[in-house]
Amino acid sequence: MSDPRVAQALVQLPDYAGSHVRVAAIALGLGIALSLPLAFLCVRRPALRALALAATSLVQTIPGLALLALFYPLLLAAAALTERLFGVGFSALGLIPSVLALALYSMLPVLRNTVTGLMGIDPAVREAALGVGMTPRQSLWMVEWPLALPVIMGGVRTAAVWVIGTATLATPIGQTSLGNYIFTGLQTQNWVFVLVGCIAAAALALAVDQSLALMERGVAIRSRGRVIGGALGLLVIVSLAVVPTFARGGRGYVVGAKPFAEQYVLAALIARQLEANGLAANRREGLGSAVAFDALAAGDIDVYVDYTGTLWANEMKRSDIRPRDEVMAELSRWLDARGVLLLGGLGFENAYTLAMPRARAQALGIRTLDDLARVAPRLSIAGDYEFFGRPEWQALRAAYGLTFRAERTMQPEFMYPAVASGDVDVIAGYTSDGRIAQFGLQTIDDNRHAIPPYDAVILVSPKRRGDAALLNALRPLVGAIDVATMRDANLRAASETPDAVARWLRERTGR
C-alpha cells in the first residue's frame, strides 16, 4: 500500500468511477426501456419473439470492444447527416456511442427474462384475471407483470453486471471510465493501475448486483423494506459516483491521447503546461489511433499529439515517401484546409528505425543502411507484428536492396532483449523508444530517406485554433523535446506514472 502509484490511482477514482457509473446507468436504463415494451409485444407474437431474441443474441456474440468501436463511425455518419439536414451535429465520441452500444448489449438478458417470466405464468391465473373482469391491459399490469417481476429482476441483474464490466471498454472511443486505469496501466506497464481498475469495476458490479438482489428478493416476498433498501443502495452508488463529477464544474480544454505510453506522457505534459498557464485541462486518454484525429476534427478533443507519417498515410492516404520538411509543410496545408491547426513539431520523431548493438555495428563497420545492405544477406532481422507488411519495409527494400537471411516477427518486449543477446542481428525498433539506449543499441542512419518522417506534432481543433490563450500556452513546447530526452522519458514511463514523467520532462526541458 506504500506504492505511490496507489495514491496516484485513487486521485482519479471519483472522475473515472463517476463517468463509469453515469455511462453504465444511462445505458442500462435505456436498455431496459427498450427491452420491456419489446418483451410485452413479443409475448403474444411468436414470430416477433423469435426475431427479437435472435437479433439480441447476435448482438451478444459481437465482442464488446468491437461493438463499441462500430458505433463510432456509425454515429460519425449520423452526426454528419443531422448536420446537413438540421444544421445541428452531435459528438460521435464518448457518451453517446458508449451508451448506445452498451444499451444494445444489455437487452438480451432483460428481454429474455421478461419473455420467459411472462410466458411462464400459469394459464389458469391469466384465465382467472380475465374471469374476474380484467381487461387484457389490467391483466398485464395487475397480474402478469407483478408475477413475472422476480424473473425480470434476475435479467436486470445480469444486464447490470454485463454493462458495468463492458463499460471499461468504452475508453478507446473517448468515454472516460474505470477502463482508463486498465488501458493506461496496460500501455505503461503500470500493473497497480490495471489492478485498481479491475477491483473498482468488480466492486461496483458487486455492489449494484447485491442492491438489485435485495430488491429482487423484496419483490418476490413482497417486503417493501427490502425493495426500499435495495433502491437506496443503488441511489447511494449513483449519487456517490455522480456528485463529484458535477462538483468538478467547468470542463476546460480536452487533451487527447492514443493508447500507448508516449502518448500518455505527452498528454500529461500538455495538461501540465496548460495548468501552469492557468488553463483548466481534462484528458481523454486511450483513444483509438483512428478515433483521435476524427475526434479532434469534430472538436470532441481540443489538442493532442500525432505523428506526421501516420497522418500522411492514414488521413491523406499518401504512400509516396517525401523529405521531412516537405511532409510537414504539405500536411500542414492539408490540415489547414480541414480547419485543424498544426502548431508545430515537438522536436523528435517516433519512426521505425533499424537498430543493432553498438559494438556489433562498429565491428561490422555499419553506420548507414547502405553499409547494412552489404552484409544483410548474412544477418537476420526482427520486427513487430505489422512491420513486414507496412509500406516502410517495402520502401526500405526498394531503396537499399535489403535482403536478410531471415525475417522474424515478435512482440516489441522480446525484440530488444533478442537483439541484445544476439538471437537476431537487427531489429526494426522505434526512434523514440527508450530501450534503444537501455540495450545499448545504435540506430542505423536512413541516408537515402526511405523511411517516411514521423515527427511528433501538436494538433489543435478547429474551434480552438483561434484561442490565443491556448496557443500561447502550447507554443513553448514546439521544438522542446529532442529524441534522446523522449527516449529517456519513455524508459521512465515503464516504472513511473505519466504525470511523474511529465513533471520530469518539464524540469528537464526547463519549461
Binding site: V125, A129, G131, G133, V143, R222
Partner: protein
C-alpha cells in the same frame, strides 16, 4: 312466461377447428334464483358451456342470453364483472393477499379502499373465515380455506349470477360437504342464480335444484334430481345414476338394519 330466464342457451354450438364441436346445439334455461348443476364426464363440454356464459368463449352457432339479452351484444368486461366465477383449482392471485383477492372485482369497478376492505371483511365472515386471514397470502391457507376465498371473491361485487367450475373437487370429503352446505345457504340467502359444473353426480343431486347432463357436447338429460333418478330409458344416464343410487340403497339398508 313472464320474467326472462336468468340464463338461456338457444341451440348453442361451439366448435374448435374441424373436429367434433365441444358443444353441439345445446338448449336449456336457468331460472332466476335457480341452482343448476352441469354433470358429465371429462371432455363432455362442461367448461366450455360455463365459459360461454361470461364470454370467456364465444359461440360459433346459436345464442346465449343473459337476463333475456343476447350476450354477444353485451360488453364482455362489464358482463364478467357482474357475474361471479369460481375457478377450477381456485385460481387465486398468488401475489395478492386474501383481502386483495376477494376485493379484486370491486377494485376493477372503482370502489374506494375503505369500501373494499369492509366488503372483504364482510365476505370473510360470510364464507366463515376469521377476519385475521385478510392480510395472508393464498399459499399460507389450506385447500378448503382457499376455496372459501375463491367463493368470497366470486361474490364480492354482489353478482346475481355465480358460475362455479368444479369448485369442490380437489377437497377432502368432509371439507367438500361443509363447503357445499355453506354455499347452498349463501345461494338461498343472497338470492343467487348458480351454475355449478361437477363430474360427481352425487354432489349434483344433493346441492342443485336441477341437473343437466352433457355427453360428447350434447345435452342428454335435463331435470330435477328426483326425476333423473327415476329415468331408466338412456343407458348412459342409467349408468351415471347407478353409483349414487347404489350408495343410497346400501345406506338405507344399513340404516334399517341398525334400527331398533
Amino acid at each position: 312466461m313472464d320474467a326472462p330466464a336468468a340464463i338461456s342457451f338457444e341451440a348453442v354450438t361451439r366448435a374448435y377447428g374441424s373436429g367434433r364441436p365441444a358443444l353441439d346445439g345445446v338448449s336449456f334455461q336457468v331460472g332466476s334464483g335457480e341452482f343448476l348443476a352441469v354433470v358429465g364426464p371429462s371432455g363432455s363440454g362442461k367448461t366450455t358451456l360455463l365459459r360461454l356464459i361470461n364470454r370467456l368463449a364465444e359461440p360459433t352457432g346459436g345464442t346465449v342470453r343473459i337476463g333475456g339479452e343476447d350476450a354477444a351484444a353485451l360488453d364482455p368486461i362489464a358482463l364478467r364483472r357482474r357475474v361471479g366465477y369460481v375457478f377450477q383449482g381456485v385460481g387465486l392471485f398468488p401475489h395478492l393477499t386474501v383481502a386483495e383477492n376477494i376485493a379484486i372485482t370491486p377494485k376493477l369497478l372503482g370502489w374506494d379502499g375503505p369500501r373494499r376492505a369492509a366488503r372483504a371483511a364482510e365476505l370473510l365472515a360470510l364464507v366463515r373465515l376469521p377476519a385475521s386471514y385478510a392480510p395472508r397470502f393464498p399459499h399460507q391457507l389450506s385447500g378448503g380455506e382457499r376455496q372459501r376465498v375463491g367463493v368470497a371473491r366470486a361474490l364480492a361485487a354482489e353478482p346475481r349470477i355465480v358460475l362455479m367450475d368444479e369448485p369442490f373437487s380437489a377437497l377432502d370429503a368432509l371439507t367438500r360437504d361443509a363447503l357445499g352446505d355453506d354455499y347452498r345457504r349463501l345461494h338461498r340467502d343472497l338470492g343467487l342464480t348458480s351454475v355449478m359444473i361437477t363430474h360427481d353426480m352425487l354432489e349434483a343431486l344433493l346441492l342443485a335444484d336441477r341437473v343437466v347432463v352433457l355427453r360428447e357436447g350434447r345435452l342428454i338429460a335435463d331435470g330435477a334430481p328426483a326425476d333423473l333418478m327415476r329415468r331408466t330409458d338412456d343407458p348412459f344416464l342409467r349408468e351415471l345414476m347407478q353409483t349414487p343410487r347404489r350408495h343410497a340403497e346400501k345406506l338405507a339398508a344399513f340404516m334399517a338394519e341398525r334400527a331398533p
